[in-house]
C-alpha cells in the first residue's frame, strides 16, 4: 500500500501547493490546511505502515508483538495535529488582520513593504 499512499500524499501536497500559489488569502489558508494533512500522512508512511495493529501492549503481554507499527511517528503526528490547530487559528487571524490593515486580500497587491 505504500506506493498508493505516496501517490495520495503527492496529490494532497500538490493540491496544497497549488492553492498556496493562488492570489487570494482564503485559498492560501485552504492550501495550508491541506498541506498539514499531507505532511502528517507523510510522517506516518515514512515510518512504515505495518499491518494495522495498534502500538498498544496487550493486557497480558509486556511488550508489543513483532511486526508492530512504529509508535514514534505516531507520537510526533499527534502533537503535530494539535499544534496544527493552533497555527491554523493563528494564520486565520493573521490574514484577517492583514486584510484589515492593507485593505486587500490579493497577494499580488502585497509586493512592497511600504503601503
Amino acid at each position: 500500500m505504500e506506493p498508493i499512499f505516496a501517490i495520495l500524499i503527492g496529490f494532497l501536497t500538490a493540491a496544497g501547493f497549488y492553492l498556496m500559489l493562488r492570489r487570494t488569502f482564503m485559498r492560501l489558508l485552504l492550501g495550508f490546511l491541506l498541506l498539514g494533512q499531507a505532511a502528517n500522512l507523510l510522517i506516518l508512511t515514512a515510518g512504515g505502515l505495518g499491518p494495522g495493529t495498534s502500538p498498544i501492549i496487550h493486557p497480558d503481554a509486556t511488550t508489543l508483538p513483532p511486526g508492530h507499527p512504529d509508535p514514534l511517528p505516531q507520537a510526533l503526528i499527534l502533537t503535530a495535529i494539535v499544534i496544527g490547530f493552533a497555527t491554523v487559528a493563528f494564520a486565520v487571524v493573521l490574514l484577517k488582520r492583514a486584510n484589515q490593515a492593507t485593505g486587500t486580500d490579493d497577494f499580488d497587491a502585497l509586493d512592497t513593504t511600504d503601503s
Binding site: I7, T13, Y18, R22, A75, D108
Partner: protein, 914 residues
C-alpha cells in the same frame, strides 16, 4: 599593545573633557613603547627576536603568532614614536572639537592595528591587522561625518584598500598552501616550493594588488589625495608616515620569497616609476598645502616600490633609509600645514605668506623638514636621496628610464618642499593676523621634534644605520650586510644628480605659478581621471546590484514560493536520479479495499476543495479530507491519531464557522494560463514529495529509534499505550516544548485580535434554541467526564492529555454556544494554560529528590483502583499528562472563545453569504 588597547577606551573619555590633556597623557604610552622598541634593536640585531604566540582558534590550528623582526621593528618604532607626537599634536589641534573624542578612540585603534601588523608572524593575523588599519583609516577619514565629501572620500579609501585586502587574502591562502606554512618567518626557506606552485603567478598578482592599493600606486592612487579631508593629525599619521607604508612593508616582508622572480621587478619597477612621476606631476598642479603633500607622498611611495623592485642590497638599504626619512619630514610638514591652517584659516599656498615673524619656531621646523625633503646636506633627506640615486644607478634593468623618472620626481619634490616649508613663511607685503591658538606648544612640539630628529640623524647617520636599518635590510635581503651611511660620498655621478635635482627644483619653484598653469591645463585635458572613473564604476555597480536585487527580490510572494518549490523539486529529482531511484514494484493483491475507498473519497474532496468557488464548500470539502485522514489513521493502527484528528477536524470547522463571515471571500484572479503554470509547479513539487517518500522507504530499514522505547514502555515506564508513554515520558521535554508552542500561538491570536479596547463584546446572541440548551445541559457534563476518563486511562489505552483536553474544549465551547445571557466567557482564559504549563514543568523535578536526572519518571507505590479505569499507577508522567490536558484544553478554548467574541458584533455564523 594592551596599554594601547586600553588607551582606545580611556582617552576618548578624557578627550571629551580636555583634548589637550588627553593628548599629552596618552602620548606617554607610545613614547615608552618607542623607547622599549629602540632598546630591543641590539637584541634583534643579534638575532634574538621578541616573539609571542597565543592560541586563537585551536580547532583550526590558528594561532596569534607575533615575532618582531628587523623590518617590523623599524615600522613599529615609526608607528610608536610618530604616534606619540601625533597624539600630542592631535590633542592640541582638536581641542574643543566634537571630533576629539572619536579621534582618540580611532587613532588608538589604528595604532594597535599598525603595531599588530608590524609584529604579525602569521599570514592571517597580518591580514586581520591589515584590514583593521583600513577600517581605522575609514573611520578617521570620515571623522567629519556630517560632510558628504568626507563620507565619500572615506568610502573610496575603504573600498580600494578593502578590495586590495581581499585580493591579498586570496594570495595569502595560495601562498600558505604552496609553502605549507602560515608563518611568515618560515616562508623564505620554502621559496622554491612557492615558486613551483601552479598558481604562483596568481598568488603574486593578488598579493601585489593588496600592496599597491594600500600604498596608493597608480591606478589606485586617487583615494590618498581624497583622504586629505581627514583632520590634519590623521593625514600626518596615517596617510604619510604609517599606513600607506604598510604596502611597502608587505613588499619588504615578502621580498625574500618573491624578489628572485622576474615578474617581481617587471611589475614593481614600471608601477613604482609611474606612480613616482605621476604623483610628482599631479603635485605641481595643487595649491592646497595638504593635497600638495599628499601627491608628493604618492610620489615617495612610488620611489619606495621602485627600490624594492630593484631589490639589490643597496636598493633595499636606500628603501629603508628613505622610509624613515620620508616619515620624519612628511609627518613634520603635514603638522606644519595643520598649524598654518589653524593660524590663518586657509591652506592655499598662493595666498599664504609672511608667517615667519609670527610663528618663528614653526618656520624653523618647516625649514628643517623642507631641507630634508629637498635632499640638501646635511639633512637625512640628503642621505636618502644619495642612496636612492646610487641604487638606481647600480640597478641592472631599465636604469636610465628609472633614473630619469626619479630625477624628475625629486626635482618636483624640491619645489614642493619649498612651497610648503618656505613660501608660507616669507614676507611679501603686510604681515597677516593669525589665530593665537596656533602658538600652543602641543602643536609645535611634533613638527619641531621630527624636523630636529631629521637633522640629527643626518649629521650622525650611524645612529640609525648601524642597527635599525641594518637589521631591517638583513631581513629583506637575507644576507648579512653592513650599512654605512655617510653624508659625503665624494664627487661622482650621484652627487652630480643630487645637485642638478636641487637646481631644477629651485627653478620649478621660481616659475611655480606658470608651471602650475601648464600642468593643471594638461591634466584637465586628460581624457579620464582615476577618481571619476572609479566613481562612475561604483555607481554602475550599485545600479547593477539594485537591478539584481529588484530582479530576485521582486516582492511577489507567490513568485518566491514558486521558485522555492521548483528548487526543492529539482534537487529531489536530481538526488533520486543520482541515487538510482526506481518506482517500486506493486501487486494488486496488496490493495486493501477500505483504505483505497477512503482515499478515493479524499481525492474527490480535494478536487472539490481546489475548485470550490465558495468558502463554505471548500471548508466542508477539506473537512472531508481531514476525516478521511482520520480513517486512514484508524485503519493503520493509530487509534490515538484517529481520535485526535477527528476532534481537531471538528474544532477547526467550528473555528472557521466563527470567523468565516469576517474573512475575505474567494475570488478568481489568475488567468487560466497562470493557473496551468502553477498546477505544473505544484504538480512537480507534489511528485517530488512522493518520490522522496518512496526513496526513503526503499532504504533498508535499520534498527528503529523506537525499539528501545517499545521494550521499555511497560517494564520501565509502566505504560501500555506506547504512543502516550513516548509523549509523556520518553520525549516529555519535546512535548513540554510543544505545549509551550500551543500557548504561544494562543497568545499570538489574542494579541492579533486585541484591537486596543480591553472590553470584550457579548457572546452568542440568542441563536441557541431551547432544544439545544436542553440537550447540552446533560451533554456537557458527560463530555467533561469523558475527557477525564480519557486522560486517566491514556497511559494504557487510547487517550491521554491531548485527546482529553480536546474533548474538554469541545464541551466548553458547546456550553458557550448555549449561553443566551450574553455573559462573558471564561473569566481568565489564560489560567488553565498557565497552570498546565506549571504542572508539566513541576513534574520534571521530583526525579531530583530520587537522585535521578531531570524529568525522569517517578512513580508512587500506591496504585488506587478507579471505576472504569481499573488499577491506576500514579507518577510524574501522569502529572505531566495532566499538565498537557490543561494546556490543550485551555488553548483550544481560549482560541475559540477569542474568535467567538474577540470583537463586537460577533454572531455565530450559521450561513455563509457567498
Amino acid at each position: 599593545m594592551g596599554a594601547v588597547a586600553t588607551g582606545a577606551v580611556i582617552w576618548p573619555q578624557v578627550a571629551r573633557g580636555n583634548a589637550r590633556l588627553a593628548g599629552w597623557l596618552s602620548a606617554l604610552v607610545p613614547a615608552a613603547l618607542a623607547v622599549w622598541l629602540i632598546a630591543r634593536v641590539p637584541d634583534v640585531g643579534a638575532g634574538q627576536l621578541p616573539a609571542a604566540s597565543f592560541a586563537w582558534v585551536p580547532a583550526l590550528g590558528l594561532t596569534l603568532d607575533f615575532r618582531l623582526d628587523g623590518v617590523g621593528l623599524l615600522l613599529s618604532v615609526l608607528v610608536a614614536s610618530i604616534g606619540a607626537l601625533i597624539l600630542i599634536y592631535g590633542g592640541g589641534y582638536l581641542k574643543g572639537s566634537p571630533q576629539a573624542a572619536p579621534f582618540f578612540g580611532f587613532i588608538h585603534l589604528f595604532m594597535l592595528a599598525m603595531l599588530g601588523l608590524a609584529g604579525a608572524d602569521h599570514l592571517l593575523v597580518l591580514f586581520v591587522f591589515w584590514e583593521l588599519t583600513s577600517l581605522a583609516s575609514y573611520l578617521l577619514i570620515g571623522l567629519a561625518h556630517d560632510s558628504a565629501d568626507a563620507r565619500k572620500a572615506a568610502l573610496r579609501a575603504l573600498l580600494i584598500t578593502g578590495f586590495g585586502g581581499v585580493a591579498m587574502l586570496a594570495g595569502f591562502i595560495l601562498l600558505a598552501d604552496a609553502a605549507g606554512t602560515w608563518k611568515i618567518s618560515e616562508l623564505a626557506a620554502r621559496a622554491d616550493a612557492v615558486r613551483a606552485h601552479p598558481a604562483a603567478h596568481w598568488m603574486l598578482a593578488l598579493i601585489l594588488l593588496g600592496a599597491v592599493t594600500k600604498s596608493a600606486q597608480v591606478p589606485f592612487h586617487f583615494w590618498l589625495p581624497g583622504a586629505m579631508v581627514a583632520p590634519t593629525p590623521v593625514s600626518a599619521y596615517l596617510h604619510s608616515a604609517t599606513m600607506v607604508k604598510a604596502g611597502v612593508y608587505l613588499l619588504a616582508k615578502l621580498s625574500p620569497v618573491f624578489s628572485a622572480w622576474p615578474a617581481w621587478s617587471a611589475v614593481l619597477l614600471p608601477l613604482g616609476a609611474l606612480t613616482m612621476l605621476a604623483g610628482a606631476i599631479f603635485a605641481l598642479a595643487q595649491t592646497d598645502l595638504k593635497r600638495l603633500l599628499a601627491y608628493s607622498t604618492m610620489s615617495a611611495l612610488g620611489t619606495l616600490v621602485v627600490l624594492l623592485g630593484i631589490g639589490t642590497d643597496l636598493a633595499v638599504q636606500a628603501a629603508m633609509v628613505f622610509l624613515i626619512v620620508h616619515a620624519l619630514y612628511k609627518a613634520a610638514l603635514f603638522m606644519v600645514a595643520g598649524v598654518v591652517d589653524k593660524a590663518t584659516g586657509t591652506r592655499d599656498i598662493t595666498v599664504l605668506h609672511g608667517l615667519g615673524k609670527q610663528l618663528p619656531l614653526l618656520a624653523f621646523a618647516a625649514g628643517l623638514a623642507a631641507f630634508s625633503m629637498s635632499g640638501v646636506p646635511p639633512f637625512i633627506g640628503f642621505i636618502g636621496k644619495e642612496l636612492l640615486y646610487e641604487a638606481k644607478v647600480q640597478a641592472q634593468t631599465a636604469g636610465p628610464l628609472i633614473i630619469f623618472c626619479g630625477f624628475a620626481a625629486n626635482a618636483i619634490n624640491v619645489a614642493v618642499a619649498l612651497k610648503v616649508g618656505f613660501s608660507p613663511f616669507v614676507n611679501r607685503g603686510e604681515i597677516p593676523q593669525i589665530n593665537p591658538k596656533a602658538k600652543q606648544s602641543a602643536l609645535l612640539a611634533g613638527p619641531l621634534l621630527l624636523a630636529i630628529a631629521g637633522a640629527v640623524v643626518g649629521l650622525w647617520p650611524d645612529l640609525i644605520g648601524k642597527n635599525l636599518i641594518r637589521v631591517a635590510v638583513e631581513d629583506i635581503t637575507v644576507t648579512p650586510t653592513t650599512v654605512k651611511l655617510k653624508l659625503w660620498h665624494g664627487f661622482n655621478l650621484v652627487l652630480l644628480l643630487s645637485g642638478l635635482t636641487v637646481a631644477a627644483g629651485i627653478a620649478l619653484y621660481a616659475w611655480r605659478s606658470r608651471v602650475r598653469g601648464i600642468v593643471a591645463g594638461a591634466l584637465d585635458r586628460m581624457p579620464t581621471r582615476a577618481a571619476k572613473t572609479f566613481d562612475a564604476g561604483l555607481s554602475r555597480v550599485i545600479k547593477g546590484a539594485g537591478g539584481a536585487t529588484r530582479f530576485f527580490q521582486h516582492g511577489n510572494l507567490r513568485g518566491y514560493f514558486a521558485v522555492l518549490l521548483l528548487t526543492v523539486a529539482a534537487l529531489v529529482f536530481h538526488a533520486a536520479r543520482a541515487g538510482g531511484f526506481s518506482v517500486p514494484g506493486f501487486e494488486v493483491s496488496d490493495l486493501r479495499f477500505a483504505p483505497v475507498g477512503v482515499m478515493m473519497m479524499m481525492v474527490v474532496a480535494t478536487v472539490l476543495a481546489v475548485r470550490a468557488k465558495a468558502r463554505v464548500t471548500a471548508l466542508l470539502a477539506l473537512g472531508g479530507v481531514g476525516y478521511g485522514v482520520a480513517l486512514l489513521y484508524a485503519l493503520y493502527g493509530a487509534p490515538d491519531l484517529a481520535l485526535t484528528q477527528v476532534l481537531v477536524e471538528t474544532l477547526t470547522l467550528v473555528l472557521f464557522a466563527f470567523i468565516l463571515a469576517k474573512l475575505p471571500p474567494m475570488r478568481s484572479r489568475s488567468s487560466p494560463r497562470r493557473r496551468a503554470l502553477d498546477a505544473l509547479i505544484a504538480g512537480a513539487a507534489g511528485l517530488a514529495v512522493a518520490v522522496a517518500l518512496l526513496a526513503a522507504r526503499a532504504e533498508p530499514a535499520g534498527a528503529r529509534v523506537s525499539d528501545a522505547m517499545v521494550a521499555d514502555s511497560y517494564l520501565v515506564a509502566k505504560g501500555k499505550n506506547v504512543v502516550n508513554v513516548i509523549l509523556v515520558d520518553f520525549r516529555a521535554l519535546d512535548t513540554l516544548g510543544e505545549i509551550s508552542v500551543l500557548a504561544i500561538a494562543a497568545l499570538g491570536v489574542a494579541a492579533l485580535l486585541y484591537n486596543g479596547s480591553p472590553t470584550r463584546g457579548p457572546g452568542s446572541q440568542a441563536t441557541a434554541t431551547a432544544m439545544y440548551r436542553a440537550s447540552i445541559r446533560w451533554l456537557v457534563p458527560l463530555l467533561y467526564a469523558l475527557s477525564i476518563l480519557l486522560l486517566l486511562r491514556g497511559h494504557n489505552e487510547p487517550g491521554g492529555g491531548f485527546i482529553g483536553g480536546l474533548v474538554a474544549a469541545s464541551a466548553a465551547i458547546l456550553r458557550e454556544l448555549g449561553r443566551t445571557d450574553g455573559a462573558n466567557g471564561p473569566r481568565s482564559p489564560v489560567l488553565p494554560v498557565a497552570c498546565g504549563l506549571a504542572i508539566a514543568l513541576a513534574s520534571a523535578f521530583p526525579a531530583w529528590f530520587h537522585g535521578q536526572p531531570w524529568m525522569q519518571g517517578v512513580w508512587l507505590t500506591w496504585e488506587p483502583w478507579l471505576p472504569l479505569v481499573g488499577t491506576t499507577k500514579l507518577g510524574t508522567p501522569f502529572l505531566f499528562d495532566i499538565g498537557v490536558y490543561a494546556v490543550v484544553f485551555g488553548v483550544a478554548r481560549w482560541i475559540l472563545d477569542l474568535l467567538l467574541r474577540g470583537e463586537p458584533k460577533t454572531t455565530v455564523a450559521t450561513a455563509d453569504p457567498d
